[in-house]
Symmetry: C2
Subunit: 299 residues, 2 copies
Amino acid sequence: MKKYIGVDLGGTNIRAAIVQEDGQILSMKKSESHPDRGAEAVMETMISLIESLEGFEECEGIGMGIPGPIDTINGKIIVSTNLPKLIGFPIAEYIENHFHKPTYMDNDVKVAALGEAVLGGGKGYPIVYYVTISTGIGGALVIDKKVISGQNGHAGEIGNICIDRNRKKYNILNVGAVENEASGTAVTRKGKEVFGEDKIRHAGDVFDLARSGDEKALKIVDDMAYDLAMMFSAIAHVIDPHVFVVGGGVMKGKDVFFDKMEKYYRDMIHAGMQSVVFKQAELEEPGIVGAAMLPMTHA
Amino acid sequence: MKKYIGVDLGGTNIRAAIVQEDGQILSMKKSESHPDRGAEAVMETMISLIESLEGFEECEGIGMGIPGPIDTINGKIIVSTNLPKLIGFPIAEYIENHFHKPTYMDNDVKVAALGEAVLGGGKGYPIVYYVTISTGIGGALVIDKKVISGQNGHAGEIGNICIDRNRKKYNILNVGAVENEASGTAVTRKGKEVFGEDKIRHAGDVFDLARSGDEKALKIVDDMAYDLAMMFSAIAHVIDPHVFVVGGGVMKGKDVFFDKMEKYYRDMIHAGMQSVVFKQAELEEPGIVGAAMLPMTHA
């Protein structure tokens, strides 16, 4: 079975792994990234880390997931808050020149979506829309095992979709942006407004209250479910995917809100579109596995 | 320059043309389709029509645009109100067996979108979202010269996107479906409500009143512009296209509503997405040209 190297390059750590084409991680190691030391120092750390993995020489290629907008054609970081000294540095070229293996890089969320689409919840489906509901709400479109990033890499910025024009403006996002109304942050905010600052630490506390039958918590959850259904139905009418793969920390409350959401959603789409399915994200390490998929799906 | 045969098969007429790869129509002919006579009779009419076009033998392939949902893999009509006797008939195979040329078929709106994407307003752009604002509102996604139809052929059913949950329910579409609020039909309805049944025959009458400075007509147009901006911004956050190509009869009122729409739209999308452009549909015969593009883009 073919093997690939997947790298997760973050502001704190670099993690590298050898991943089989079926998604199994054979070995994984971690180093601190120390981005303050400059691009070449980070590159040398990454190279040492990869070379410490047994069997790295037999891998077919290298893929890297990196936060922020990525120039995937030239293999460079465009903008970064965590890795400012690496902006514009020819990362992919540097690594490819060292290992003489095809090397690709992309945004970490898109790479995780690719992992989930190809080997996780979206396995076997041609058109996958990946949605993560967490602190924020984001997504990615994967068609035939390729991430469609859009003109500016903003395909999947679905957190900014307005699901109700009669809401409050909170931040730079649109009035009624679904991220401000149905993310973990939003549920936490609504919970604090209703139950008080000290009662609610995170969205899970609201979900717990809903599980115990609290009417006010159930109302927050019902609103969230409807708002998410508005977002999912907008996506569906634009692209009609085979599957939505849904991940992110808020899915820990799946039992509380997801069936309601799906019921609202199915009322908002055409009869002929009902064959769409929802799958939960499945991979433990979608970022590392997805990064390793970059050379595999480019081949 | 290579040549292709494009066919527009409708319930009333069949039109066939020889189209150059640059989109120029070299010759076009028309017959009545008489779908009541059955599938084989319609096929023989189509064959005679194609054979009456000078130089058909030198064409590289044949493409057909047909109303309703199409099984593009097997070249059959799935559902049809205008061509019921042709449902399930192996149209593409029948034509291909006769001419011994690669033959493809797809839905007529998607085929028109392909024509506009490849040779019209979207020429040269990798990701094109085609939007038609007419009696209804529809769309199609074209990536790298291929129509992305979605799981059920419903990608582009954007008329059903809810742009305001506080509107009236009119029909099977969602409450606040943009088609019920910003199509030609919707503008006509709103005009009749405000100015009376006899004053308004179609959307153009509302646009004329707006051009003359009528406050109530300007309000209808302003609402329409905002509602359309909501729809365009939802699409943009899902796919981040390079270009929106906008066609349909309502674009005759472009001077009245389009600049307002674009201004609202640009306030609803991220700073990094502003490079998206709007182009008006350009082709006189997008359906015929797009049909001819089917064998060209499959090659």
